[in-house]
């Protein structure tokens, strides 16, 4: 703004002040309490218009509260899932395992043995631990249903051969659909037994196990004691024949061993650190722990992603709300041109009109904020109840929601207020 324009305005203001002083007329002024009273009266006396005005805020704030509440609730559920399924599992592998099988069938250099399994199982915080491996990296091996197999072995089915300690079956939470699992006693006795996965049993034609059906692995008869229908960790068991570790060693069926450990929630990181010493006290460095990321870190990562996504949705909802309120407020201003013109004719300065429109929009926004917070809370409660989740809603969200409504009202009222100041008093007379 140039100096001359400022100077002219200043002179004009001075001339106005002098002229009004000559007539003993004060400049129009309005008390703050009267602005608030007028705004609240307009809001209260025209409930339909207020409700229409507030609707955008109600929906916007309700969306935000719902999203924040539901994201918090869902985060809790997701965290629980991670705690139960992921962060309680640790797997140990021997990075220097010599896979050369000795005359006794044992892998000559593996530190992962039944004894190591027991050492790990004894650690504080371990719920269960089991030794497990797949023969030939899980490539299918001939498994015959009978000792002699037809004119040719063309029809001999092939199955992956899994090897598990009795504890590994329970660690895996194997669910038996027929018969039973082999136990530590059978394992100690080098019993020629095994369990079939439900898919493998179907492919071998084993429909019942109560009569002790036999399958042949390398011409060695293996009595099927049970059929497994579900496991939680080693899913390959469903399509495989699983043998006890001692039996597998007798048959020379070794592979890349691992000890699967299920820990108490929050203990995975500790067990991952202690496990190598329990397994191989003299050379812990050769044992590698495959633990999931720290649970809090994992949770934070998931929560961060979830929150960012949902916050973006919430902001979009708020923006839609602000645009909606702006439209409705603008419409209300246009409908009230006559009233605004009348107020101007009676001595209201443009700034008073702007203040009234803004205050009314803010009051409507605040009312909408309260109503939206209530609606959002109700939504969170209903959805959480339907899903069986405990509802989680940060109290700060409930405190901030009405303020957000006020802010949305002020933002949405700014443009209509500016438009309202341009309404001239003459318009009141012309209508």
């Amino acid at each position: 703004m140039s100096r001359s324009v400022v100077g002219t305005r200043s002179r004009t203001r001075r001339a106005t002040r002098e002229a009004l002083a000559e007539l003993a007329i004060p400049l129009p002024r309005m008390r703050v309490v009267d602005v608030l009273r007028e705004a609240s009266l307009s809001a209260v006396r025209a409930p339909a218009r207020t409700l229409l005005n507030a609707l955008g805020t109600i929906l916007g704030v309700a969306a935000i509260v719902s999203i924040m509440g539901l994201s918090g609730t869902a985060r809790g559920a997701v965290s629980d899932s991670f705690d139960v399924l992921r962060v309680t599992q640790v797997t140990f592998v021997d990075s220097e395992q010599d896979r050369t099988v000795g005359r006794d069938g044992r892998a000559a250099g593996s530190s992962l043995t039944l004894r190591a399994q027991e050492s790990v199982a004894g650690l504080n915080g371990v719920v269960d631990a089991g030794l497990f491996w797949q023969f030939a990296d899980g490539r299918p091996q001939p498994v015959r249903r009978f000792r002699t197999q037809g004119p040719a072995d063309l029809s001999t089915p092939s199955l992956p051969l899994n090897v598990a300690s009795a504890r590994a079956l329970t660690t895996n939470r194997a669910v038996v659909v027929q018969g039973r699992l082999f136990d530590a006693g059978m394992e100690d006795r080098h019993a020629r037994v095994g369990v079939l996965g439900v898919v493998a049993a179907r492919s071998l034609g084993v429909t019942r196990v109560d009569r002790g059906p036999v399958v042949y692995v390398r011409d060695t008869p293996i009595t099927v004691v049970g059929v497994v229908g579900d496991v939680q960790i080693s899913g390959t068991m469903l399509n495989a024949l699983t043998l006890p570790t001692t039996t597998a060693e007798d048959l020379g069926l070794d592979g890349e061993r691992e000890i699967i450990v299920r820990t108490a929630p929050g203990a995975a990181q500790t067990i991952a650190g202690q496990g190598p010493f329990a397994i191989s006290p003299l050379a812990p460095g050769r044992v590698t722990a495959l633990a999931p990321p720290d649970s809090s870190l994992l949770r934070n990562q998931v929560q961060s992603s979830l929150t960012s996504l949902l916050l973006a949705l919430a902001l979009i909802a708020l923006a839609i709300g602000v645009v909606a309120i702006t439209n409705v407020t603008l419409l209300a201003v246009m409908q009230r041109r006559s009233e605004i013109g009348l107020r101007r004719a009676m001595g209201a300065a443009p700034r008073h009109i702007a203040l009234l429109v803004l205050t009314e929009a803010a009051a409507t926004g605040t009312i909408g904020g309260f109503a939206g917070a209530s609606l959002g809370t109700l939504t969170v409660a209903v959805v959480a109840a339907a899903k069986g989740w405990p509802p989680v809603l940060d109290p700060m969200v409930l405190v901030a929601a009405p303020l957000l409504g006020t802010l949305a009202g002020v933002l949405a009222g700014a443009y209509p207020a500016r438009k309202a100041t341009r309404i001239t008093p003459i318009e009141a007379l012309q209508r």
Binding site: R17, A19, I25, R29, D34, S338, M346, G347
Partner: protein
Amino acid sequence: MIELDLDAVAVTYPGVPPVPALRPTSLQIRAGELVGVVGSSGSGKSTLLNVLGLLEHSTAGVYRVRGVDTAVLTERGRTALRGVQFGFVFQAHHLLADRTARENVELPLLYRKVPARLRRRAAVQALRRVGLGHRLDALPGTLSGGERQRANIARALVQQPRVLLCDEPTGALDSASSEDMVGLLQGLNQDGLTVVVVTHEQWIAARLPRRLRMQDGVVVEERPDGVTPGERTDGVTTGGRP
């Protein structure tokens, strides 16, 4: 004392060609006068009233209120002067439907920082003055046409203006209510208030001591006997009680 002084004031609306709503007019209205402005529709009556009430800017000439040139005023200054100097009575009452009669009458005082208690007292006095003391808390929708127009006048009076500008105040009233209204305006004038009444009804104009006739944007003084002498060559009409 000259209350309002128009010196060659004109209003021309832009257009092709420009529309002269009020041709150069010089007019003086003294304090305490009761002036009627008559004329057919479109003759410029309302434009004259709007210029007098600072609702509309003139495009030429000088307009003085109690000797002060209004051209020096900013918009806020014009608003201040309008709010204190003038009371407006509109044909359509423009009462806010969601406010009681008392709350409607209080409105002009909101912009003068008058405390609520004093506003209420002033509004009640104004309503009693126009004979509506018994309808203080009535909503406009429950008032008769005559009562609404009285509330309209009470709202114009509440700020104790020096000049009352009335635009067709009886336009929406029946003959009995119109008679009351004219009596009320005459009574206010006798109390010292300057009153300017725009009307198209001859019988009302006939009861006013000074009459101005408007035709095609030109103001012509009518003599008390009802004879229109025609526009003076200098275009000046001066007032005062006949």
